[in-house]
């Protein structure tokens, strides 16, 4: 069964849609993907669901020129390890940018995209990817002629 088949899609759907992870209420550690047990607190740990803010920084990245079948159309594609501001490390494609503009430490935010399609007639899997942060849009409200 492929990774995009309906059962696999359904199991991971909510965490992909909303960037849901886990937090240990005992020690405060955060996890993505979700976990049932805190590796540090073990049976003393209390795991709760958390929705991450989606903000983070590029920890490291690579540019893929020869991609697996479902991702061929995206080449050259940027795949990065993004460290979320809450701590967990997430593997994701970076979109809306040229790979030449990418830098380690760059601020990124989660956006909602198509992840893969199971051929033309199959299920479409959606979820988070990341794009560079732009926090400068506040200036438009100070300009009367927007």
């Amino acid at each position: 069964m492929s990774a995009t088949a309906p059962p696999a899609h359904w199991r991971r759907m909510r965490e992909r849609y909303r960037l849901l992870g886990s937090r240990c209420e005992t020690c405060g550690a955060t996890f993505f993907p979700t976990t049932k047990v805190c590796p540090k607190c073990r049976r003393k740990g209390k795991i709760a669901q958390v929705e991450f803010s989606g903000r983070g920084k590029v920890y490291s990245y690579t540019v893929i020129h020869s991609a697996p079948k479902m991702f061929e159309q995206f080449t050259p594609a940027v795949v990065a390890l993004v460290q979320l501001e809450e701590g967990p490390m997430v593997l994701s494609q970076i979109v809306d940018t040229d790979h030449k503009e990418l830098k380690v430490g760059m601020e990124v935010e989660a956006c909602f995209r198509k992840l893969f399609e199971q051929e033309q007639s199959g299920i479409i899997s959606y979820g988070f990817k990341f794009r560079p942060v732009n926090d400068h849009w506040g200036k438009y409200y100070d300009n009367k002629d927007i």
Partner: protein, 347 residues
């Protein structure tokens, strides 16, 4: 009870193609085309963007502005589009799930060419005013299709806007709405067809102008208002010319239309068009100013809304990016990359 817009949000994909790059491919004169339609470039979705992703981005911006509204308090989600990703499987369920509104929520996709989402706003108004729910959401989003070489290729664009309707925390009150609908063969797409068809001679007078003008007039008559009572007027924007002509027929000034006339820079975002125009107006309107908005959907019909901005607007609009930010956030594509993104190459 005052009912109206509690939150609104816009989204436009980053990519653009210039009219001159389309004209070059088909051996047409770009200057003649842009003079004729008043559209210089249009937005193009990325390979991984579709109506569902655009709807989610717009809806998330609307949630930011609906300060304090909990996802569990939104009990209806309608997504209006003519480019839903599935023929059968609602876009609205994906949006509801991505926003955390599930499971106690009614969700449905609406379809009425470019006015499907204003029909959704009317449904939300009824549900909220009837006391069935606290808040409802309607989203208009499209990745509009056009056959390669067709005149529509210069305008068929991608984008969307979301509106949360409620009676608590209203930033723009909707004082009245009405509709005007007839069976007109101006534009259609049959099941299984990739691209829409249009019947040129029906597009203007019997379709767009008839519905927009009669619907707007009818609402103003009902409410006892006149064009000079409104600071802004927003119409569906199939091109840069039609909204200006409709305004002049109704007795509105060009100045009342231009703040919403975003079609020149991003093209016709179909179900998103009039709603993105309204969002651009809400991004700048002052408390107490009034807005008349009339959508248009081929086939054909219009929904008119009379809106008064409240004093909550100034603080709340700052909570999400304005339409102008999305217009200026852009990168240009060649026709060949555009063709790849729009899947014009088929196996």
């Amino acid at each position: 009870m005052k009912v109206g817009i509690v939150g609104y949000g816009a989204y436009i994909p980053k990519w653009r193609i210039k009219a001159e790059n389309i004209a070059k491919v088909w051996g047409q004169d770009a200057q003649t085309i842009t003079n004729g339609i008043g559209v210089h470039e249009k937005s193009v979705p990325s390979l991984d963007e579709d109506t569902a992703t655009i709807a989610v981005e717009a809806a998330r911006n609307a949630m930011k502005r609906a300060n304090g509204v909990k996802p569990s308090e939104i009990s209806a989600v309608y997504v209006g589009s003519e480019s839903h990703p599935y023929a059968v499987k609602p876009t609205a369920v994906t949006v509801a799930e991505a926003l955390g509104l599930t499971p106690y929520v009614t969700a449905a996709d609406t379809e009425f060419a470019c006015k499907a989402a204003t029909a959704g706003i009317q449904a939300c108004l009824g549900l909220v005013k009837g006391g069935y729910m606290k808040y409802g959401m309607s989203i208009g989003a499209d990745t509009a299709q056009s056959a390669p070489g067709d005149a529509l290729e210069y305008t068929a664009a991608a984008g969307g806007a979301a509106y949360i309707i409620g009676g608590d925390g209203v930033l723009a009150e909707i004082e009245g709405t009405c509709s005007y609908t007839q069976d007109v063969p101006d534009f259609w797409r049959r099941e299984g067809s990739l691209y829409p068809k249009h019947a040129g001679r029906f597009t203007g007078e019997p379709a767009y102008f008839e519905q927009i003008v009669k619907c707007s007039k009818s609402l103003m008559e009902k409410l006892g208002t006149k064009p000079s009572d409104y600071t802004y007027v927003v119409f569906h924007m199939p091109n840069g010319k039609f909204p200006l002509k409709a305004a002049s027929i109704l007795g509105f000034d060009t100045k009342q239309v231009t703040p919403s006339l975003i079609v020149q820079k991003i093209g016709n975002t179909y179900s998103g068009s009039s709603l993105l125009g309204l969002a651009a107006v809400l991004d700048r309107a002052k408390p107490g100013e009034r807005v008349l908005m009339t959508s248009y959907g081929s086939g054909a019909g219009s929904d008119s809304f009379s809106i008064t901005v409240t004093d909550q607007i100034e603080e709340r609009r700052r909570l999400a990016p304005p339409v102008q930010y999305y217009i200026e956030r852009k990168g240009y594509l060649s026709y060949s990359i555009y063709a790849k993104n729009r899947k014009l190459f088929r196996e």
